[in-house]
């Protein structure tokens, strides 16, 4: 149920599954821990590893909060809240007796707090919006009731001032003075989200910090409630934030209800809030409560007691180097520590000595992270250490006892406990010889020897075992280091050991376990879901792969262990990490050879003929047929202009149904090719129908020829113009003046032969096919396909220039009014209508030829029209951010 094994920086003081406690409190002396739950109250004596007393508690309510009286005078008192009631309990002579029951709240009590100095005063707060102050000498009713309007979640007495207390209400903090109970003396709107915890500074009367659901901890100076002095941002909602008794440290805990993967307490330095200084890794579940143990005189370490949902009580050592991280310089000289406290603790317990023993110091400095080694017990009083080394299938339990003169010339005694070890006598003799020799070497120089001895023992055992084991097992897999042992593996999915991924075009990458390990024995034998669930159970099977001191096991061990339990040895090493790459292109209609052969350049009829031939070579007779049909649709009008297939409704329908057929078969190659050819044909048709003056009717003109009839002035790259088959405005802009280039307009709706919906779909086929070509590295073919893409011009956002036509007074975007056919903009300088580069003032609207304006403003500042506008200055300031 409990053990005192020092594992690392913490030890498990208590592990008790049936307690189901949700409140924990450490008493003023740091000796007793109260654990309170619905069914039991328990008192754990931290001084005695075995002692824990349980008291059944018949109640249907859980314990909300618990706290020991912090004063030495009434240190035996503790209080717990149970629904609307407070119970004050007295801990005397191993009995826990209820002495007071305080009732006044009408709803559930959320928090309680003892007065820091007056041993009889207690504060409690509740959802009923009241904060009651109690005096134990008169427990019938509260001595003072503070009404807060909003429900209170926290109440905390100031640690320096006997009059002040703080309460939290959703996101606000109220500060009260008990001499002035009518209203709060201070009000801090601290957070937007709920405040979970409050903590007064241990050093200053005016400083308080609040931890909130918004993942921040804010530090306030009460005298300046407007804004937080500083904010500490964490990555999870903060349940509690409490100052450390040393330096400017702060410990935060995550909100238990969230139960995320990471539940560890974090230690921060409030002077350096970027990252936590330390993470307390050890609990397997969320920490419910943590409290500082009173520092024993003479101790350099501080101790933190934590109670977690995993039902373990851990005691952590905060070593001097961590204290330093929080800006605290531990007192080096032991004599300067508080003498009064020292005598007090002596008087109380009679056994702890104020003088630090060298052995205790050695124990505390011992690095217990020695691979394959577990320190089971370290007892500085009895002066012995118990360790257990597990290497492969060797287990050695070693007891080291330290004579009182150690380390001054006297080596410790080593003893292998035979009944718990499974090594032969010869190995034991070898080990002891080695240990004695090493210890003697060290102590002859008055140096301590525990750690070097333990490390040497592990190394020696490893050598001995590998000599023996090498011919019996060949270990295939190297176990990963256990540095992540503290991570919460229960929520990390069990790793994939096989998989298949489609990559690039039609490549299937497969990997898996070698075929021999682990065959399914039954249907029920399903692979575990999380990293830790099964290996733990498995470690009982065989301990070859059982981790040194941890639950974590490798995935391969999971499989190979099973296999080993059936077959005696592993067959071969060769195929353990093989990746197979399959060519799955045959499953798809994409054909690389076709992609290389297909052409898209030239006359539609020729294209179709060529491509049909290419398809015939690959043996796709269905494609030959489709290409022949396409040729028919596109090409007939050359023979008979009157009734061309292109204009015939059936021609379109045929092409459409062909494209959609291939698309539904996922033959994007063919669908995209037809879209390109069809788009070309349609594009010409579209132009033909809307800009009659451009082309002879009925002539099918492939895109490129358009350019030759276009304006020599245009500045738009040819490819775009072709691609932009049905957007006529661009073509026109190319021939017009630069003023028109400034203006951009929505594309003119053309009478499309096809529904716009499928049009976008066709674009998509082209993009998808182009990507496939890109992956194949056929970049020329890809570019050919992309030439057929449609692009709408970007819609213009920003300043637009409009002119009012002089004749009809209508706003005109173009250089000339479409109705009156008159040029719209007249140059303000030369009074000639503008064609070509133009500029206008944004403020007064006057403008004209760029050249004219440049000339004018070379020596003038105001507008040429005499409107008084300072065009240059005004325009410049307007565009300044």
């Amino acid at each position: 149920m409990s053990s005192t094994t020092w594992k690392s920086e913490y030890y498990i003081a208590l592990e008790c599954k049936d307690l189901q406690a949700n409140a924990m409190a450490v008493d003023a002396t740091g000796t007793y821990v109260l654990l309170a739950g619905r069914r039991y109250l328990a008192i754990k004596n931290l001084e005695d590893p075995e002692l824990v007393q349980k008291f059944p508690r018949q109640s249907k309510y859980d314990v909300g909060a618990a706290e020991w009286n912090p004063t030495a005078y009434h240190k035996e008192l503790c209080v717990i809240s149970s629904n609307q009631r407070l119970e004050v309990l007295t801990w005397r002579q191993d009995e826990l007796i209820q002495t007071h029951s305080l009732r006044a709240h009408t709803r559930v009590i959320t928090d309680l707090n003892w007065h820091k100095f007056d041993s009889n005063i207690l504060a409690s707060c509740s959802v009923d919006t009241f904060i009651h102050l109690w005096d134990l000498r008169d427990s019938r009713r509260p001595i003072l009731s503070l009404s807060a309007i909003a429900e209170a979640s926290q109440v905390k007495w100031n640690r320096k001032s006997p009059h002040l207390l703080a309460t939290a209400h959703e996101g606000d903090i109220k500060i009260w003075d008990q001499r002035k109970g009518t209203a709060p003396v201070q009000y801090i709107a601290a957070h937007l989200a709920k405040i979970h915890g409050l903590d007064w500074s241990p050093t200053s009367e005016n400083h308080i910090c609040s931890s909130s659901h918004d993942s921040t901890v804010k530090f306030f100076d009460m005298t300046n409630p407007r804004r937080a002095e500083y904010v500490l941002t964490t990555n999870a909602p903060v349940w509690r934030a409490r100052h450390t008794p040393f330096g400017n440290g702060l410990i935060t805990a995550v909100v238990p209800q969230l139960r995320r993967g990471e539940n560890s307490l974090l230690l921060w330095n409030t002077a350096n809030r970027a990252t936590p200084m330390h993470t307390f890794i050890g609990h397997r579940d969320v920490v419910l409560e943590f409290e500082w143990r009173k520092q024993k005189s003479g101790d350099t370490d501080f101790q933190l007691v934590t109670w977690s949902k995993d039902q373990t009580l851990l005691v952590w050592r905060i070593e001097p180097f961590i204290q330093k991280l929080c800006g605290y310089e531990p007192v080096e000289s032991k004599d300067s520590s508080d003498i009064i406290e020292a005598t007090e603790s002596l008087k109380l317990y009679g056994k702890s000595s104020p003088k630090v023993q060298p052995l205790q110091q050695e124990f505390s400095l011992l690095n217990v992270h020695i691979p394959n080694l577990k320190v089971r017990k370290m007892d500085p009083v009895a002066r012995n250490v118990l360790v257990k080394a597990t290497i492969n299938n060797f287990t050695v339990n070693l007891k080291v006892s330290f004579p009182s003169a150690y380390p001054h010339g006297v080596p410790p005694g080593f003893e292998v406990i035979k009944e718990d070890s499974n090594v032969s006598d010869s190995i034991v003799v070898q080990l002891l010889q080695m240990l004695k020799h090493l210890a003697q070497q060290r102590v002859s120089k008055n140096r301590t020897c525990l750690e070097p001895c333990l490390r040497q023992m592990v190394t020696t055992l490893e050598q001995l075992s590998s000599d023996l084991e090498s011919n019996r097992f060949d270990r295939q897999y190297i176990e990963p280091s256990s540095i992540f042992g503290g991570y919460n593996d229960a929520y990390i999915p069990f790793p994939r050991t096989s998989g298949a991924k489609f990559c690039s075009v039609g490549i299937l990458v497969c990997f898996g376990r070698p075929i021999h390990p682990r065959k399914l024995s039954s249907k029920l034998d399903s692979t575990p879901r999380a990293l830790t669930t099964t290996p733990r159970a498995l470690s009982a099977l065989e301990n070859i792969f059982a981790k040194r001191n941890d639950d974590y096991m490798t995935v391969s061990a999971y499989y190979f262990q099973r296999q080993r339990s059936r077959a005696k040895h592993v067959s071969s090493k060769s195929s353990k990490a093989v990746v197979h790459i399959y060519d799955a292109q045959a499953l798809f209609f994409f054909n690389r050879q076709l992609a290389e052969e297909y052409i898209l350049d030239g006359d539609v009829g020729t294209i179709c003929k060529h491509n049909a031939a290419a398809a015939a070579v690959v043996g796709r007779r269905d494609l030959v047929q489709a290409w022949t049909l396409a040729e028919l649709v596109a090409g007939t009008q050359q023979a008979d202009e009157g009734i061309s297939w292109a204009n015939h409704p059936f021609g379109n329908k045929l092409m459409e149904s062909l494209i959609s057929h291939y698309a539904s078969q996922y033959d994007l190659q063919m669908a995209a090719m037809l879209c390109c050819i069809f788009g070309k044909y349609q594009e010409a048709l579209a132009r033909k129908s809307s800009v009659k003056s451009f082309f002879l009717p009925g002539q099918l003109v492939p895109g490129k020829r358009l350019l030759k009839s276009g304006s020599p002035y245009h500045t738009i790259p040819p490819a775009d113009v072709i691609a932009d088959g049905w957007v006529i405005p661009i073509l026109r802009t190319a021939r017009s003046t630069s003023l028109d280039n400034l203006r951009l307009e929505a594309p003119v709706e053309l009478s499309m032969l096809k529904a716009p919906a499928s049009n976008s779909l066709y674009e998509y086929y082209k993009v998808a096919y182009a990507e496939t070509l890109h992956r194949w590295g056929l970049i020329y073919s890809r570019t050919e396909v992309l030439k057929y893409m449609c692009h709408n011009p970007e819609s213009h956002t920003g300043v637009e220039f409009l002119c009012d036509c002089k004749n009809c007074s209508r706003p005109v975007k173009h250089t000339s009014c479409p109705a009156c056919r008159q040029p719209t903009l007249r140059c303000a300088v030369c009074d000639i209508s503008v064609r070509g580069a133009a500029n206008a003032c944004v403020l007064c609207g006057h403008g004209g030829h760029t050249a004219c304006l440049r000339w004018w403003f070379a020596f003038q500042e105001v507008c040429v029209t005499g409107c008084g506008c300072k065009c240059l200055v005004g325009t410049a300031s307007m565009f300044q951010p």
């Binding site: 540095i483 999915p493 998989g499 490549i507 399903s526 990746v579 197979h580 996922y666 529904a755 893409m789």
Partner: protein, 309 residues
């Protein structure tokens, strides 16, 4: 139908957890429990080790190649809570960016479609999803986090295709593409996320699986007016989700397998799905003309055999 191109003994000292070939099909990257990522040249049947990337301190769970227009980038995620983006420079792979802002194992990484820019999504056991966006102007990676995306943990992320031809005439090629992704987690849910302004909002929550969702894959919906997602779970089922609007989703159980299913992967044009799981088998599935899913082949690994059905 399927032929073996290449078999590569990666020389990893422990189990392989992921393998992926790059955009052009020229390079293979693998990652393993031995904490390393290896890159192989597989051009023309070669299998030359190009580099062995060491930088993780825990098993590496998943890797992802970026689109080549951003350079040769490879992302890897590990049990050590880190995501590392590697970049090839002068034939050497160097650590380009390291992201260590997760509280637990990072289980999944995937690059967004190249149309959206250089963006990486990471799903972690701490329950959150990180979206790392490369900002070419500042040469920095901006991180956005979806906190508590999946209670307990997120196991897989997959980006939606940038362009999806959805009916009613709006051209999807021109309008700025919507950033969307799907994730699966230990809360047995599949969730769809969409970027809305500078936040990521949960668009839908798909509930069918009865155990942890292990993988999700957004299908490239070529030639169809709809969205398709595949998800697989510890409950041994693969579910195909289809929707026309990304809001209402229909589920269809593809098959219930003998063991847990770990992997689903769509082919480039989205018609074939590869499924693999704890039973060490790979199956390929496609839809027949009636829309019924059928198994078209089995690839028994380690043996390199294919049983066509």
């Amino acid at each position: 139908m399927v032929s073996l191109l290449n078999s590569i003994d990666t020389g990893h000292e422990d189990m392989i957890h992921d393998a992926e070939v790059d955009y052009y099909g020229l390079r293979l990257a693998t990652c393993s429990s031995d904490n390393s990522v290896k890159v192989y040249d597989i051009k023309n049947g070669a299998s030359t080790l190009l580099d062995d990337l060491k930088g993780h301190f825990g098993p590496v769970w998943q890797i992802a190649w970026s689109h080549p227009k951003f350079g040769n980038l490879l992302a890897s995620c590990s049990y050590d809570r880190k995501v590392i983006i590697w970049k090839e420079q002068q034939r050497k792979w160097l650590k380009y960016y390291e992201y260590a802002n997760h509280d637990s194992s990072v289980n999944s990484v995937q690059f967004a479609p190249s149309e959206l820019g250089l963006i990486l999504a990471c799903g972690s056991s701490d329950g959150s999803i990180s979206i790392l966006t490369y900002n070419p102007e500042t040469n920095n990676w901006d991180a956005k986090k979806i906190q508590n995306a999946h209670a307990i943990g997120c196991n897989a992320v997959s980006w939606a295709t940038a362009i999806t031809p959805i009916g009613n005439g709006e051209t999807d090629l021109q309008s700025p593409p919507v950033k969307r992704l799907v994730s699966g987690g230990c809360d047995n849910l599949v969730k769809i996320w969409r970027e809305d302004g500078d936040r990521w909002v949960e668009e839908s929550k798909l509930e069918v699986h009865s155990d942890w969702v292990r993988d999700v894959a957004w299908a490239p919906s070529v030639g169809l007016h709809r969205y398709t997602i595949a998800s697989c779970s510890q409950d041994r089922r693969v579910v195909i989700w289809t929707s026309n609007d990304c809001i209402n989703w229909n589920s269809n159980v593809l098959h219930t397998f003998d063991d847990v299913v770990w992997n689903v992967s769509w082919s480039l044009n989205g018609n074939i799905l590869a499924v693999s799981g704890g039973d060490n088998k790979i199956t390929l599935w496609d839809q027949n003309t009636e829309g019924v899913w059928q198994c078209i082949s089995d690839v028994a690994k380690g043996q390199g055999q294919i049983n066509n059905q």
